[in-house]
């Protein structure tokens, strides 16, 4: 299929439809609005439902209902809106329902700003809502990868009966790149969901629920969830390693930051510095084996983030503190520059001033 030029947010919308999603519930917020704008006209074309909810909370609870009754459903938002969704996300994880949540991150905390950010890493990866639950968190770094990630997100959601978050940022949502779209999935071929609430016709009733008043039952339920997360850790990690075979310094970043880091790595290589890039594509599960492999020659590791040091904690933890892990980040909608990252690479490999 020929490539088409699409904006990230719109490409995500089209990819969702092609992945068999027919139900979108959302609330307006910058910088993800092009996604609902696109789906508002596109979903009815394919017999789907686009519903602008009264709040982020209502939107995620509509997803909760739709997912519970067997549909591929999604919502999208940006940082402050995703905070509001956390209650529903915890319920969806607790009730073990598949769905996809997009977060086109902007700067925080509070109302923050409307320019790109990556400061929701902890919220996405460590929980955010209440209780011991995990989201599968996918972090694409290009419009093409966002398209590919959407199909993968729905597959993983169904495989694990677990909510999946696509953690993007304002840059990825807003930028245009050529993409090759996948074929339209036939919704008749989607996985069968015998547990869904579809009306108890000639079967015992199905109950979608996250309440377990008996402590033993609730503990057992939690242990079952943990076993599922452990399986994700074993089977679902994804990452890109670039020029890491002989790298003495490995720069680590995800999403837009990784693109900046990659350019800095190229420039460093041009100057004879053995630099490489490690880009986690799954943030949970974190690609531990992959990062260990990528950093096996490294004397230094540098994370580049649009936050003030969140990813860096997981990098240190997963490398088991065996290599010095440094941090460089910009926030508030400020984006790290290639020059600044290159300066940090040089400082760490050759000494000198901090960027």
């Amino acid at each position: 299929m020929a490539k088409v030029l699409m904006k990230g947010n719109e490409a995500l919308g089209e990819a969702a439809i092609r992945a068999g999603c027919r139900y979108f519930f959302g609330y307006p917020i910058t910088p993800q609005s092009e996604l609902p704008h696109y789906l508002a006209w596109r979903l009815p074309e394919v017999g789907g439902v686009f519903l602008q909810a009264e709040s982020e909370i209502a939107a995620i609870n509509m997803v909760y209902g739709a997912a519970g009754s067997g549909a591929r459903a999604m919502t999208s938002s940006s940082s402050p809106g995703v905070s509001l969704k956390m209650e529903g996300i915890s319920y969806i994880a607790g009730a073990e329902l598949p769905c996809v949540i997009v977060n086109m991150q902007r700067g925080g905390p509070g109302l923050g700003g409307i320019q790109p950010g990556q400061s929701d890493y902890f919220q996405a990866v460590k929980g955010g809502g209440h209780g011991d639950y995990k989201l599968l968190v996918l972090a694409p770094a290009s419009v093409q990868e966002m398209v590919d990630t959407m199909a993968k997100a729905f597959e993983l959601a169904d495989k694990y009966r677990n909510p999946v978050m696509i953690l993007g940022d304002g840059i990825l949502g807003q930028m245009m790149e050529p993409v090759e779209l996948p074929e339209m999935k036939d919704v008749e071929t989607l996985p069968v969901k015998p547990w869904a609430t579809t009306g108890a016709k000639e079967r015992t009733p199905n109950i979608i629920n996250s309440l377990f008043l008996d402590p033993e039952e609730l503990e057992a339920h939690n242990l079952k969830l943990q076993a599922k997360y452990e399986q994700m850790i074993q089977e679902e990690t994804m990452a890109e390693s670039y020029q890491t075979d002989d790298a003495e310094i490995v720069v680590v970043g995800y999403g837009s930051s990784a693109r900046v880091a990659k350019a800095a790595v190229d420039q460093a290589r041009a100057e004879g510095i053995k630099a490489g890039l490690f880009r986690p594509i799954t943030l949970f599960p974190f690609p531990k084996k992959e990062i260990e492999q990528a950093c096996r020659q490294a004397k230094n590791v540098l994370t580049v983030e649009m936050s003030l040091g969140q990813l860096v904690e997981d990098v240190r933890y997963n490398l088991e503190f065996r290599v010095p892990v440094h941090f460089y980040g910009r926030v508030g909608g400020m984006v790290p520059t290639t020059r600044a990252v290159l300066t940090e690479i040089k400082r760490l490999t050759q000494g000198g001033e901090k960027a």
Partner: protein
């Protein structure tokens, strides 16, 4: 042998956790009888709330979805949009519907979601220990209003049915009570009309049922029924607040 009374198919044999004298049991039964009579048990998906009826999914013998506090109308919206041919209802209390879930119920009604809401108003938070509800009457004692609700500091009780009746998306809004057998019969008729409105695709329907809470009102079951009649009905007048012309009851 002629069977004159039996458990509706739409109720499970589970023993409920409701307190003695609580009218939730009556209201559950009415909903179940209506679903049986309409022959839609296998086509119905119920949404349970947070509050005393949080375990309703154990009592209704049909597909059920347990929602977060106040969010039942949003969950029901998601279900109904996926299954427009199914019957979807929410069963909610007054804390759930008129406090933490006010936005969800107002907008579900405004959108004209083709769902039915059974709104049980007992003027108190039961499950969490008798706290003041948005529907608690002026002067009524609650654990968080130990001297009685004071309008000056705690404001006024909300008449949700009257508010919802102003919305164009609402097809049928009525308030009933279950304090005596005559009213129970009327309540059942109203619940049936509400489900019929949904089946006819007319829009959003809601039946507010005035209910007792002997435990948290600190009254015997009989005195509670009398208290409902004498105190709640004057503030929450019974009757149809809105009905599309063709189904006026």
């Amino acid at each position: 042998m002629i069977t004159v009374f039996e458990r509706p198919q739409s109720l499970t044999p589970a023993k409920t956790h409701y307190c003695p004298g609580c009218t939730h049991g009556i209201i559950h039964r009415l909903v179940a009888e209506v679903i049986d009579e309409l022959g839609v048990r296998e086509e119905t998906i119920g949404v349970a709330p947070v509050g005393c009826s949080v375990l309703a999914y154990n009592y209704f013998n049909m597909d059920m979805h347990e929602a977060a506090h106040g969010r039942a109308p949003a969950v029901a919206t998601g279900i109904k949009r996926v299954h427009p041919d199914k019957v979807v209802f929410t069963y909610q209390g007054d804390g759930d519907l008129a406090a933490i879930g006010t936005a969800e119920i107002i907008h579900a009604a405004a959108r004209g979601e083709k769902i039915t809401t059974i709104f049980v108003n007992n003027a108190i938070y039961g499950m969490t220990g008798g706290q003041m509800a948005p529907t608690t009457l002026i002067g009524q004692e609650a654990t968080t209003a130990p001297s009685g609700r004071n309008a000056e500091t705690q404001g006024y009780p909300i008449r949700m049915s009257e508010i919802l009746a102003t919305l164009d998306g609402a097809a049928y809004i009525t308030r009933v009570s279950v304090h005596n057998p005559q009213e129970v019969a009327k309540a059942k008729k109203a619940i049936k009309t509400a489900f019929e409105m949904q089946l006819a695709g007319k829009g959003f329907s809601l039946v507010e049922v005035l209910s007792t809470c002997p435990t948290n009102w600190s009254l015997t079951p009989l005195k509670a029924l009398k208290w409902l009649q004498e105190n709640m009905i004057p503030y929450y007048p019974l009757g149809v607040k809105k009905a599309l012309e063709e189904v006026k009851v």
